[in-house]
Symmetry: C2
Subunit: 295 residues, 2 copies
């Protein structure tokens, strides 16, 4: 059996007239009769009652007709779903992100993508930069939002967001009232930072800035969560240096100040990059990249 048989059957069932049906199908009447006969032979039951002067569906033909209609609907559906999926308009994408990305680009990116591709399922995983690279290679995520730099020949990446660092001070700190902080003035302060392995791409510029200001920061506490660092600062445990977007998460008892080294603003050191498998060209991933890189 081929779809041809079903197409022909459907037309004859609609017209109840082999001649007219053949005409609408743009074929001659005899081959149409033949095909319907072949179909009936294969099915093992009669579809039509032909009385030379009139054609009628048998009860089995009627029942079959209803089901055949569904077959063609299902076929249309299959083609539609396939095409949408091929365009990236339908499917799923799994995205990893560093926690701090939730304060800056992640929400906007997701919003834009969902608006353009409402039928793509998004799966989100908060992961460190390092784990994202592992998950990417394992195929557990399709895209990562990480703290660059990374060096990996099998992965492609592009910086999509950069921001300045700020100093976080307790509100009663003696420098809290200034318009900016000369980094050297923090030389003797206790520092609260995140572990280097969590985001070396962010950690190293912070340390390098301190070195440029002539000191090595005295780290009294390491915290995995940036939120926790802010909490400890507000509790007077020390000061910290963080990406400026952390200010989005308002917190009493903490003041943020721009950083200067030798009178010059320290800018754009905190970066977020999007990473993906260089050989991955899945449609949803490409659509997300289009949205994600367009800024």
């Amino acid at each position: 059996m081929e779809l041809r048989h079903l197409r022909y059957f459907r037309m004859v069932a609609n017209e109840l007239h082999f001649g007219r049906a053949a005409e609408k199908l743009h074929i001659a009447q005899p081959p149409l009769s033949k095909q319907i006969q072949d179909l009936e032979a294969e099915l093992g039951f009669e579809l039509f009652i032909r009385t030379k002067r009139s054609v009628a569906l048998t009860p089995a033909g009627q029942a079959f007709s209803i089901e055949v209609t569904q077959i063609f609907q299902q076929l249309d559906r299959a083609i539609d779903i396939g095409r949408k999926t091929s365009r990236g308009e339908l499917g799923q994408i799994s995205i990893g992100f560093v926690g701090s990305a939730t304060y800056n680009i992640l929400p906007l990116m997701l919003q834009q993508f969902r608006y353009q591709y409402p039928n793509v399922q998004i799966e989100l995983h908060e992961l460190t930069t390092g784990r994202q690279l592992i998950w990417l290679r394992e195929g557990r995520i399709d895209l990562g939002l990480i703290r660059p730099p990374i060096i990996a020949p099998d992965l492609a990446s592009q910086v999509i967001f950069q921001e300045s660092l700020v100093v976080a001070l307790p509100i009663n700190h003696h420098l809290a009232g200034a318009d900016f902080i000369e980094l050297a003035s923090l030389a003797v302060e206790p520092f609260i930072l995140f572990p280097r392995e969590l985001a070396p791409g962010l950690y190293d510029p912070i340390i390098a800035s301190c070195q440029a200001a002539g000191f090595s920061p005295q780290i009294v506490q390491e915290c995995i969560q940036m939120q926790t660092i802010v909490s400890l600062v507000s509790a007077n445990m020390g000061v910290s240096i963080l990406p400026e977007s952390i200010q989005e998460a308002q917190r009493h008892g903490v003041i943020y100040q721009p950083i200067r080294v030798g009178g010059v603003n320290v800018e754009q050191l905190a970066k977020i990059a999007i990473v993906w498998r260089i050989d991955d060209n899945s449609p949803t991933m490409n659509r997300f990249l289009e949205v994600g890189l367009d800024r």
Copy 2:
């Protein structure tokens, strides 16, 4: 597009290997490659990623594969429903019946039919013999259970049940204690009967029996429902002659007695026949006839 394309696609999607898939399909590899290419060209999107050494489904191919599976399920379903319908195992049948048939064959027949063909929808209509013939011709019912005889060239019929007539007497009637009733002894009794047009095939034998016994019954009341006749008998309004199966509907205050005319039992005068359109050979109707006539 033909089912062939979808069958081939499904096999390649399962095997992820053109050579093996071709082998299982009992065709050579090059035509298989060609057909898949044709399918992709018609669909307008790629189904497979071929890297010479390995074949993988694209996301669109995966989505399409799931939908194609459904198409074949729907096709199997269509064939199954068609075949069952052609055998009369699936479908619907509309049946007319005279009210008195509910006391004898109708319940058993329905039970037997439902047991053998549980997937056939049965529609029941209580109608007089006359209306059943009209409804049959109008196609509103497919089968009738009527009181014969009927003469109609477009309808076929067969008697499927016959029973004797009995006299219905009030319990305090002076003949109520007898083992049988000699019909002549009811010559002066008031009779309660149904209107002749309701079931002439039953009415006429009753009147003929009375004539044979030497009298014309004095009909004091006509009722459409047999139940009502029995009620009136119990209320001492008169006597009646009814099919013996009326005894199934137990009623206080009424006694039933066999009829004799000149010392001979009067038997098998109440008949029920099954009627159908002579040109109707719908499968469900034929299956019902097989069950209905098999007694």
